[in-house]
């Protein structure tokens, strides 16, 4: 019986991947993995679904498109219709460039904003890392607090099998360096 989070630290992404698969096979729950760079295939190994962010992007883009279209149409032919160079008030072909730019702007900034909000990234946020050097060259796997099925020995064996460099409890970083 244990209610602390276990942290396994690896030196390579391959080890992390194989360890992740092994942990999942043994039925333990993975809380999170930490890597210094984006490791492709890790979400799959952890059994996580891909992000739904593209939908947000599409939505933002759509809003941008409609907004730009409306703004240009309204200002040019409703609010202040002026004869400019003999062209019709609603010079739709001329509005395309701005529609496109606003679409990209909204979609792009919307996606970034969504990322920051969903991942709770903001300036000055205090961060507690599960282990040292995970933003440099270490890879960490954090197991969720376990029920009775968890055994420390088994975990140590798993670590050894997958070339882990350390195994410690969360918050125990200083000691196990």
């Amino acid at each position: 019986m244990i209610d602390q989070r276990v942290v396994m630290v690896f030196e390579s992404a391959d080890d992390l991947m194989s360890a992740t698969r092994a942990v999942r096979e043994s039925g333990w729950k993975i809380e999170e993995a930490y890597t210094p760079y984006a490791v492709h295939g890790l979400d799959e190994a952890m059994g996580r679904a891909p992000s739904r962010l593209p939908y947000i992007t599409f939505l933002c883009g759509l809003v941008g498109t409609l907004l730009a279209l409306w703004l240009q149409h309204w200002t040019s032919s409703v609010s202040w219709p002026l004869n400019v160079g003999g062209k019709p008030f609603n010079s739709l072909p001329a509005f395309v460039p701005v529609i496109f730019e606003i679409m990209v702007l909204f979609a792009g900034l919307g996606s970034v904003a969504t990322l920051l909000i969903r991942s709770r990234l903001y300036p000055g946020k205090k961060v507690q890392l599960p282990s040292v050097d995970i933003t440099n060259h270490r890879f960490a796997l954090v197991l969720a607090p376990q029920d009775a099925s968890f055994s420390h020995d088994e975990a140590s064996q798993l670590c050894r099998r997958h070339n882990a460099v350390a195994l410690h409890f969360l918050g125990d970083i200083e000691n196990k360096k």
Partner: protein, 1007 residues
């Protein structure tokens, strides 16, 4: 011209009433409580001064309404006064537009017997000298400012002394068209036995007067009627540009050239000249000859005409070059066929030559048909012989008192330096100058006179046509009219208007029959600006055939030397207008040079002397020498160097800092230097005449280069030779044809326009007005009056020589001038170019902030206070007619600012501007029409350029008005649009040039 009547007349209706009132007022002693002048002074200074700060960037101040509203003055509403232009002796009629008590714009007086409604560039610019801060404000004694009391005392003392000692008094003036002034001077001089009034013209045509004395027994200058002539032959007379009375002659000339009518008629005009004058540039045929050849050609022509008339003369035809001989033979035939309907004029100031010209006109029966001695002109009265005699007297110290009015002998005459020393020795010398000019600097007393817009004057430019000058503002300084000074010195002081009115009452009233009382007569004169009176001109004697003599042979110019031609420029004339920056910045109609005079050489001569445009050369004649920059002038006779007079005036260094001052700016004129150089040193005053052309000079490149500044660098509608593809056509912007071709096919000379597809047809229909303009290129002479008119109307700043050098001139209206080298010489075309008000304006589409958009009446509007200055509109303008405020142009001269038109915004830095068809006038006429309920008709709105045009070449109106003039002209077969292919749908059309010449000329390859 027909379209030009209307507005002025209507405007002056309001003035007619004030005319009555004025009469009553001026019946009283002057300067009582509320004379017109005193309230004009009040309004001029009070209201205008409070308005001016609103135009600058200073703190805004509240406009204080009149406590006592002066009668007839409505703030913001223009009052018009009929007056006479004082720019030269031609005496054109003007209407002065007064806003809030200050004259701001001068326009031609429609129906005036001299000018017929047009004005020249000088006339248009005459409002500026009124507000010239350097105008003399007080009298001067020996260079020190003084007051009238002291001046009058001293002069009367000296005169008394002279009277006692029997000294000689001399009154030196230019041609004096004012009968009142003539009379007053005579009265004044009558007190001094042996005194004389000497008259000379700096641009002398004394020989014409002398020749008529010889041939007709009267010393008169004939009145010319170019409109009555079917054949016009001009030998070096620039009658459309600078000769005697250009506005009058232009109007007359155009009267003989009517194409838009049922029966088109077009006079034939042949010009022989050595330089390329404005008149030559408009001639149907032009032959470049040397000054000495002109004499031979005239003699030859006279001999042939005499032969045809069966008249034996005491000279024979000189031998001519074969092509000249053929031309003269042909010309003699043509002239003989057009007897009584032809006119031969000559601008050479040579007695014998002019006698022969008289003979030709006499034998052709032209007297009293196309030129008249019974209705002679007073515009040119100078007598070179008198002048020479006077100069001699002065130099020999025989003169005791010298009065100088309207001329500047120290500058005008050769050897001015010596003359100045001699004048200094005269005990009593008085100059009636407006500025401290060259002569005023050496006279003991300077008695400054009013600006014409402050004066009461009259003029009789043509016998029987009296024109009135009335003040439009109270004198700004302590100036005094010459006639007033004379009455003071005669001991019975009279005000100016009184002197004039007295003359009119005694001399002129009885010579008319229209009005029964003098009051009515006077009123009519003030209202119309002119009246006609009987002119009891003594008939001339019969033609004196015995007077005819051979023209002495001119000295032959040796091969390595050049023949010098001195001529006036259209804005400067003999230099009277040297203080007028508008005229300095006006591009010369032919050379397009601004702010300078130059030595013109033909391309061939320039090659021979290995000089290029702008290289400085030294012109030398004996001890006299002058260094000038070279201008290469196509069409000029090889072997001639032409130099403009009227430059190098003292005091023009005032323009050193005209225009923006910044890190790399060059001064318009170096400190202590003058604008241009004075070429009068090459004039000759010998054998009783001032000689302007034909003297031998040598030139030498100095190796220096001084940039000549022009507003146009490329002069051909063909692309430069090295860059032309085979078969690359001449650009069809100016289209032309000949009369014969035109009669066969009215559309001859047209250029095919590719079929266009309108993507936005029907997007914007013009349901109300649709303003448009048509320029008749066959009528436009390129005189550039419109350029200055536009500048005055639209508050266009003067930017200085350096800015023009950088191609940043600000004129909204420019006149493009193209040369076309043909097998028979240089053809010239003038094309006024300004905003074409395109219905599919490319400038509008590209403005990011909607600072230029289209009005519902088809105007391409420029919104100054929305413009941010990207200059994209200008880049995208195919006509390049937009003007950008590169700097905040100087507006510090508060006095000068009084000439600003309050209806037009003064644009600040960073703003694009351009022609708007004088939208302020359109709006004014529209509101006038709305309040009166009368629909607008042609002529209700006249743009500034249209109003000024002496040739009547500009037509403005409503394209939607089916019965209007524009709609009619739009369907003229001669009408085309510049760059029609582009599909920008300009609202400005042009009417094709039609030349009355035998056949189209072969196009010579242009380089």
């Amino acid at each position: 011209m027909t379209a030009q009547n209307g507005e002025g007349m209507e405007k002056r209706e309001t003035n007619r009433d004030s005319g009555h009132r004025l009469d009553q007022e001026f019946g009283e002693p002057v300067f009582t409580e509320l004379t017109r002048r005193s309230f004009l002074k009040l309004t001029g200074f009070g209201l205008a001064a409070s308005l001016i700060p609103g135009c600058s960037r200073g703190p805004s101040e509240k406009l204080i309404p009149y406590l006592d509203q002066p009668e007839g003055i409505l703030a913001g509403k223009a009052t018009w006064y009929a007056t006479t232009c004082g720019g030269c002796n031609a005496g054109c009629g003007m209407l002065a537009k007064n806003m809030d008590g200050r004259p701001i714009k001068l326009e031609g007086n429609p129906g005036h017997p001299i000018s017929g409604g047009g004005l020249c560039p000088i006339g248009q610019a005459m409002v500026l000298p009124l507000y010239d801060a350097q105008r003399l404000q007080t009298p001067i004694i020996q260079g020190e400012k003084s007051d009238w009391g002291k001046v009058d005392r001293e002069i009367r003392d000296s005169l008394a002394k002279i009277k006692r000692s029997g000294g000689s008094v001399r009154f030196l003036t230019g041609s004096l068209t004012s009968p009142t002034e003539q009379k007053t001077i005579q009265e004044f001089l009558s007190d001094y036995p042996g005194s004389r009034h000497v008259c000379y013209d700096p641009l002398s045509q004394s020989a014409i007067l002398d020749a008529h004395l010889q041939t007709h027994g009267v010393r008169r200058f004939p009145g010319y009627d170019f409109g009555a002539a079917e054949w016009i032959v001009s030998f070096d007379a620039d009658f459309l540009g600078t000769w005697i009375s250009p506005v009058q002659f232009t109007a007359g000339y155009q009267a003989g050239r009517i194409l838009e009518s049922e029966s088109p008629r077009l006079s034939q005009h042949l010009q022989f000249e050595s330089r390329l004058s404005l008149t030559g540039s408009n001639a149907d045929q032009r032959i470049a000859v040397s000054p000495e050849q002109i004499n031979q050609l005239i003699t030859a022509l006279a001999a042939r005409i005499a032969a045809k008339a069966g008249q034996s003369v005491g000279f024979s035809s000189p031998s001519l070059k074969p092509d000249h001989k053929a031309k003269i033979d042909e010309l003699a035939d043509s002239l003989w066929k057009s007897r009584g309907r032809s006119l031969v004029v000559c601008g050479l100031n040579q007695f014998e030559t002019q006698v022969q010209v008289n003979l030709i006109n006499h034998l052709l029966g032209n007297y009293e048909k196309t030129l008249s001695l019974l209705k002679p002109s007073n515009q040119c009265q100078g007598n070179d012989r008198d002048l020479a005699f006077l100069v001699d007297e002065i130099e020999k110290g025989k003169v005791s008192a010298l009065f100088v009015l309207g001329v500047n002998p120290v500058y005008d005459l050769p050897g001015g330096e010596g003359l100045a020393q001699a004048i200094k020795k005269i005990p009593c010398t008085v100059s009636f100058a407006t500025h401290l000019d060259e002569t005023a600097r050496v006279t003991r007393y300077v008695c400054p006179v009013h600006n014409p817009l402050e004066s009461w004057r009259d003029a009789e430019p043509i016998a029987g046509k009296l024109s009135v000058t009335q003040p439009t503002i109270r004198p700004l300084g302590k100036t005094r009219a010459m006639v007033v000074s004379l009455t003071v010195w005669m001991g019975n002081k009279k005000e100016e208007y009184q002197v004039m009115k007295d003359t009119w009452r005694t001399d002129f009233f009885k010579r008319q029959k229209t009005d029964s009382t003098f009051g009515r007569f006077w009123d009519r004169a003030l209202h119309d600006g002119w009246v006609e009176i009987d002119s009891p001109v003594r008939a001339s004697t019969d033609f004196n055939m015995k007077s005819i003599q051979a023209v002495p042979k001119d000295p032959v110019i040796s091969a390595d030397k050049l023949s010098l031609v001195l001529y006036p420029k259209i804005g400067m004339l003999a230099g009277q207008h040297a203080h007028n920056p508008w005229l300095h910045e006006l591009p010369d109609p032919v050379s397009k040079i601004v702010w300078d005079n130059e030595a013109s050489l033909s391309p061939e001569t320039a090659r021979k002397f290995k000089v290029e445009q702008g290289d400085r050369i030294e012109i030398r004649q004996g001890e006299k020498k002058l260094v000038l920059p070279v201008h290469i002038q196509p069409g000029q006779y090889d072997g001639v160097v032409a130099v403009a007079l009227g430059y190098g005036r003292v005091g023009t260094d005032r323009f050193t800092r005209v225009g923006p001052q910044w890190l790399e700016s060059l001064p318009t004129v170096a400190v202590g230097e003058t604008v241009g150089k004075n070429a009068t040193l090459f004039l000759s005053l010998s054998e009783g005449r001032i000689g302007y052309s034909g003297s031998e000079v040598s030139i030498r490149p100095t190796g220096e280069h001084g940039e000549l500044v022009t507003t146009q660098i490329h002069h051909s509608l063909s692309v430069p030779a090295g860059l032309a593809m085979k078969g690359m056509p001449k650009r069809p912007f100016v289209q032309e044809t000949t009369l014969e071709e035109y009669k066969k096919n009215p559309e001859s000379g047209s250029h095919p326009v590719h079929p266009k597809h309108d993507l936005w047809a029907g997007s914007h229909e013009y349901t109300g007005h649709h303003w448009g303009m048509i320029i008749d290129l066959a009528a436009c002479t390129g005189c550039s009056a419109c350029v200055v008119a536009c500048q005055a109307e639209n508050n266009i700043p003067v930017v200085g020589k350096d800015e023009v050098r950088l191609n940043r001139e600000m004129h909204w209206m420019r006149i493009d001038r193209y040369y076309n080298e043909t097998s028979e010489g240089t053809d010239v075309v003038h094309q006024p170019m300004f905003c074409q008000q395109c219905d599919h304006a490319p400038c509008e589409t590209v403005c990011p902030v909607l600072a230029t958009v289209h009005s519902s009446e088809g105007l391409n509007q420029q919104v100054y206070n929305r413009c941010v200055g990207t200059r994209y509109c200008s880049n995208n303008c195919p006509y390049k007619v937009r003007r950008f405020n590169w700097f905040d142009y100087p507006r510090e001269d508060r006095l000068q600012n009084m000439s600003l038109n309050p209806d037009v915004t003064v644009r600040s830095r960073g703003v694009m501007e351009k022609c708007t068809f004088c939208v302020q006038r359109i709006q004014a006429a529209k509101s006038e029409s709305a309040s009166s309920g009368k629909p607008l008709v042609d002529g209700d709105i006249q743009t500034a350029c249209q109003q000024s045009c002496p040739a009547g070449a500009v037509f403005f109106g409503d394209l939607n008005d089916e019965k209007g003039l524009l709609a009619k002209l739009k369907s003229s077969p001669r009408r085309y649009r510049v760059l029609d292919d582009l599909g920008v749908e300009p609202s400005v059309g042009y009417l094709r040039v039609v030349r009355n010449r035998p056949e189209p000329r072969g196009v010579k390859h242009h380089d």
